[in-house]
Assembly symmetry: C2
Homo-oligomer: 433 residues x 2
C-alpha cells in the first residue's frame, strides 16, 4: 500500500520536536511568570460555534467533520476543527459563569485551517495565546505587550518592534476624511502599506472613492509614527483624544513592567485584519528575516457577549509558534541547544555483557541521567561510537573484559575525545558534575 | 446565541490543566531518561491510512472530515482524525526510509474516537506512547515494560502489576485444544475472564464449539500464572517453547533494568484485543480503584510492513493518561501539588500605587518568581487577600503609604499567616529561599 501524509500537514521528527518543546517550555514559563494559567479546549467544536466568526473566507477554511457514525458522501456535518484559540476561549467563558474575574489564561494548542498548502504554511499549526478576560483597564493591555516582550527576549530575540495602534483612533481617522461609511475598505488599504507601498495604498484609497484632498489629509495624519505621531494626532484629531489617552496609559504601564524603551512604537497605519477588535491593537515585527508579524493581538470587548448573556471585556495576544521557529532557525538562534536528549550511550561489548550493560544504564537513570543501551547485536565498538556521534549523544560508556574484571568502566566524551576509567559511581558523578 | 460544547468533549480548566501538565512532564522526563525521542504527527490523516486498521467497529468510530472547501450534506470525505498513535508511527517509519534504526520514539498527543459519551470516557483523549522500531530482540520488549514501570513509580504509583503473556503461546494453547480455526473466538472468551468469571468464559468456549474435554484441558493449562504457570506450560506445551524462552528473556532483562521483583507477572489469560500483536503482550493493572488497565502494549512485527516496502519489527506501550489521572485523583496522589502556578500576588493600595505595583511585580519576575498584580480597581486590601486565598497563591506583597515612604514592602505567607516587612530585594530572597 503506498503511503502518504494528508496534504499540507507534516510530521515533526525528533530533532525538530526537541527544539519545539524547548521553545514551548520557555513560552509556557513566561506566561506563568505573569500569573497566566493553562487552559485547553477540545479540537472539535460544534460547527455553529465557529461559523460566521472569521468572515466568509474563514468559513470556507474551517474543517468540517461528519456526524458520528455517518460516512460516504451524504453524511451530515455537525462538528468542526478549532480554527483559532480566541473563539473557544469566548465559549469557555460564556459556559462557565462561575469563573473568577479577571480570568488570566494561556493556551498552547494546534489550530486547523484548510488553506492551500504553500511554503512555510501548514494546515495544522500551533498558536500560543495569552488573554485577560474581565478587565477593561489598560494595564491588562499593557501586560499583553509585556508578556510577549518577555517571551521573545527569553527565546533570545532582540531586534523586534511592537507596533501599537487603537481601533477607535482608526475610526476617527476614517471619519475625519469623510469615509465613515467605507471604514473597512479604507482600513484594508492602509493595512497593506508594508506590502504595496504608499503609491499602491493611494490607488486603493482612490478606488474607495476618496478624493485627493481627503487622501492628502489622511497621509498628513498617519505619516508620522512614534511619539511625534501621537503628538500630531493629539493636536489635529480631537475625536481620537480618548483613544490617545489610552495609548498613553499603555505606554506608561509597559515601561513600568520593564519593557525596554523603544520596543513599543505607535504606528497609525497598523489596522490588523480581525474585525472583532475594539481598542488597542498591536503586532510584533522582526527586523529580519522578512516574514511578516510573529505575534499580534488587541482588545476585543464585544466577542464574548456573542456567546453569553452579558458582555465581558477581554484583551489578548497570540504568538505564532511556527513563524517564531522559522525565524530562530534562520537567525541561528538555537545555538548550543542539543538536538538529542540522550546523554550517555551504554555500549555492549559482547553477548555476555548485555545484562551488565542494562544494569549500568539502570544505575545511570537512577541518578537522573538520560541513558540508552546499544540495541543491536554487539560486534564492533567502533560502530557503536559512530552511532552515538550521529545521534548527538555526548558520552559513551564502555566496559570490556579487563574493566569488567576490575569493576570499572570507561567514559568517553565524544567531542573532546577525553577518556576516563574508574568505578561506575565515579563515572556517574563526572557526568552529573 | 446559546452555547454548547461538542458532545463527549470537555474543556480542561486551569486547576485540571496544572495537574495534567505536571503528569505529562514527569512521563516525558522518564521517556527521555530511557533514550526515547519525541515525535508528533498531524491530527489529520488521509482516510485510507486509518480505515481497516482497527476492525469494523474502529472504522465506525473514526472521525471523518470533508474535503477542503466542501460543505453542506453532499461533500466528499478524504481525511480523518488520528485514532491512535501506533498507525501514524507506522506511516512515519514507512515514509522515512532514512530513519536510523532502532528508532526509539515517544509521542504524547490526543486521539479522537466517535464513541458514545459515557462517564469517564471522552471523544478526545491523550495517549502517551513509547515504541522501539527496528529491533527484534527481547531487550526492546523488556525496555517497554521497564519504562512503563519507571513512569508509574515516578508518578507515585506502587500497587500495580504488569501482566505479561505471548501471542504465540496463546496460539499454541488454542491449537492444543483443537480450536486453531477458531482462535479469535477463543481468545475473546479468555480475555473476558476478569469481567465474566470462569463460568462465563466456559459458557462462551462452549459456544465456540469446544467440548468439555477441550475446555478442561484449556483450564488446566491456564489456571496457574506466574513462575509456576511458566513451569507448567514448559512441561505440558512443547509447541510454545520458543514463546516461553522469549518470556524468560523478558523477565531476565526487566530485572536487570531494575524493575522490582514481583511487578511483572506471567498471565496466560491475557489476550489484548488488538489483532496486530505478534509476540509478547502486556498490560498494567492497579489494585484499586477498579478501572481496568492503565497501560498496555506488545510486539507488532507485521504492522509497519502494511505501509512500507519491507517488514520492520516493533514493540511499544501506551499509557492511558486519562485513566492514570482518574486513579491519581481517586487515590489522593496529587498530595501537595499546588493547584496554582502563581507564587505572589502584588496588591495595589490605591490608584497612585498602580505603577509602583507593576514595577514590583516586574522585579519579582526578573528574579524568576511567578507574580501577578491585582487587576481590579484598588479598594480594600481584604478583598485582594481573599482573592489570593481563593486562587491558591501562597504569598501576598503589600506596600502601603508608610512602607512606600520607607522603601519597604510587607510579605504575608497566606497559610502560616506570617508577616515580614523589609526592602524588596530581601523579600525576593525570602521567596526564593
Amino acid at each position: 500500500m503506498p503511503v502518504n501524509r494528508a496534504s499540507g500537514t507534516r510530521d515533526l521528527l525528533p530533532e525538530t520536536m526537541i527544539r519545539r518543546l524547548s521553545v514551548i517550555e520557555t513560552v509556557r514559563g513566561v506566561f506563568a511568570r505573569f500569573g497566566f494559567l493553562p487552559l485547553e479546549t477540545p479540537a472539535i467544536e460544534r460547527i455553529e460555534t465557529l461559523m460566521g466568526k472569521y468572515g466568509a473566507e474563514g468559513d470556507q477554511l474551517i474543517y468540517k467533520i461528519l456526524k458520528r457514525g455517518e460516512g460516504g458522501v451524504r453524511g451530515e456535518v455537525d462538528l468542526a476543527l478549532r480554527y483559532d484559540l480566541t473563539v473557544p476561549l469566548a465559549r469557555v467563558v460564556a459556559m462557565n459563569p462561575g469563573l473568577s474575574m479577571p480570568f488570566k489564561r494561556y493556551q498552547i494548542q494546534p489550530v486547523w485551517r484548510a488553506d492551500r498548502p504553500q511554503k512555510g504554511r501548514f494546515r495544522e499549526f500551533y498558536q500560543c495565546d495569552v488573554d485577560t478576560v474581565g478587565c477593561e483597564e489598560m494595564w491588562a493591555d499593557a501586560e499583553a505587550l509585556a508578556v510577549v516582550d518577555s517571551a521573545l527576549r527569553a527565546l533570545g530575540f532582540a531586534g523586534f518592534t511592537i507596533k501599537l495602534n487603537h481601533r477607535a483612533l482608526l475610526r476617527a481617522l476614517v471619519e475625519e476624511v469623510g469615509a465613515g461609511d467605507r471604514e473597512t475598505g479604507v482600513l484594508v488599504a492602509i493595512d497593506k502599506l508594508d506590502k504595496i507601498g504608499k503609491k499602491g495604498v493611494t490607488a486603493e484609497l482612490e478606488r474607495c472613492g476618496l478624493d485627493s484632498a481627503a487622501i492628502e489629509r489622511l497621509w498628513s495624519l498617519i505619516d508620522l509614527g512614534g511619539a511625534e505621531g501621537l503628538e500630531l494626532l493629539r493636536e489635529q484629531l480631537p475625536a481620537a483624544s480618548q483613544a490617545l489617552a489610552q495609548l498613553d496609559e499603555v505606554l506608561e504601564y509597559t515601561a513600568a513592567m520593564g519593557v525596554p524603551s523603544g520596543t513599543v512604537r505607535f504606528d497609525p497605519t497598523l489596522a490588523r485584519g480581525l474585525s472583532y477588535y475594539t481598542g488597542p491593537v498591536f503586532e510584533v515585527v522582526v527586523e529580519k528575516p522578512a516574514i511578516g508579524s510573529i505575534a499580534g493581538g488587541g482588545r476585543y470587548d464585544n466577542l464574548i457577549g456573542i456567546f453569553g448573556k452579558k458582555s465581558v471585556p477581554a484583551v489578548g495576544v497570540s504568538l505564532g509558534l511556527e513563524r517564531i521557529l522559522v525565524v530562530m532557525e534562520e537567525l541561528g538562534m538555537f545555538g548550543e541547544l542539543p538536538t538529542a536528549t540522550t546523554q550517555v550511550l551504554v555500549t555492549v561489548f559482547d553477548d555476555d555483557s548485555r545484562v551488565l550493560a542494562l544494569e549500568q544504564a539502570a544505575a545511570l537513570r537512577q541518578a537522573g541521567i538520560n541513558a540508552e543501551v546499544w540495541m543491536k547485536a554487539p560486534g564492533k565498538l567502533a560502530k557503536q561510537f559512530k552511532y552515538a556521534n550521529k545521534a548527538g549523544i555526548a558520552r559513551v560508556l564502555t566496559c570490556g573484559p579487563k574493566e569488567r574484571e576490575e569493576g570499572q568502566v570507561t567514559l568517553k566524551h565524544m567531542e573532546s575525545g577525553e577518556q576516563w576509567t574508574g568505578p561506575l559511581d565515579q563515572a556517574i558523578a563526572r557526568i552529573q558534575g
